[in-house]
Amino acid sequence: MAPLEPYEKVLVDEDFLEDDPHGEIACVDCHGGNPEASSFEEAHKGVVKDPSWPDPAKTCGECHEKIAAVGGSSPHFTLASFRSVVGARLSDDPHVRKKVLDEAMGIHCYHCHSSCGACHVSRPEEVEGGLVEGHYFQKTPPMATNCTSCHGSRVEKEYLGKNKGLPPDVHYAKRGMKCVACHKGGEMHGTGKTYDYRYKVENLPKCEDCHKEVLGAKSKVKAHKIHKDKVSCHVCHSVAYKNCYNCHVGKDAQGLPYFKTEKSELGFKIGLNPLRDSRHPYRFVTLRHVPVNPSIFDYYVKDAMANFDRLPTWKFATPHNIQRVTPQNKKCSSCHGRKELFLLEDDVPPEERAANRAVIVPEDELPKARR
């Protein structure tokens, strides 16, 4: 997505003031500043660019009381899972934890948060912001300017078929479904409960929400009956997806923060489910390698990831590239007996094996070959 010209980012559509109910509110009531000042500097003194962040209660909450009351708990708002997954791998030394969780992540990670405004009014700050449509409030956040601004490297490329040689997700290709068709407001706005891991969110979409007949007890699909609760939907219906292997953060000679990631790779690996619970009862799930490595925060503090092995580097994943027919679900033998589809010990470098012990499939547990 091309960045906006600087003037476009702050250009308000004159009609917004007449057509949108939010246009009836005085600019100063939400953004502050001094409309009577004669200079740019004076006029913008104390201006709040995003009045919905960090506390939407005093602005959005004036009218949207119920949403604003719980909005602060949304994972998009809190990024609580960033903190918990990095925190789990960090040394127990309070100095190290503070240095990484507060300083380094404050500089490099936490700006990825969203807010009411970053979904409904402007592009997210991560992509340098800018009004989406002349300050008109978007009841449904536009997929291209908002959702995929942040979820671009993996989800967008998978869902829209931008990974070379791979088709778009069937929900998009056949029905043109946008993100909000599955990820509805209730999920996005939060429930008031803070989750330390995104797959623990209780109102996440489920395939069963729409595909009841083919997944329920009366399903006529034999493969569904056989594999129910043993294999996640993605194991049979995803195609190759992106895996990233590392990341390094630091500051350049001018003090500007940077990150460096090595080339990502497309791949497909089935592994053991590290997250088995009533919502995810499956034994086998798709796994994605995430951009984590022991030296990621070395610029700030050496060997911070003293407990690197506490979490797998191949994590539970739900790739957004669903197909009805995939290379591994054409017939039984497309998956059974094909060990290259599974994450085996030899696929994992020795230094990451301890971290991935819970997800690596032991050879004797591979699905047996079928004719």
């Binding site: 003037y7 005085a26 500007l256 940077y258």
Partner: protein, 69 residues
Amino acid sequence: MEGKGGQKRVALVTAFFFIAVFSLIQLGRAQEESSCVKCHTSPKTLIELTRALAAKKPPKKSAETKGEG
């Protein structure tokens, strides 16, 4: 009769007074809005302003950033 006429005049004056006060409040509010709205709805003004500001501001992003986020 004169008494009724006097009451009418008082009512009219009172009504005009409130209308005038209300209009002044609205005018004041509109004027307060106008400087924000005037600039932020004018592409020409914003182009000039943002160019001048961009020339003064140092870059925000490091050239050392590499790879996908």
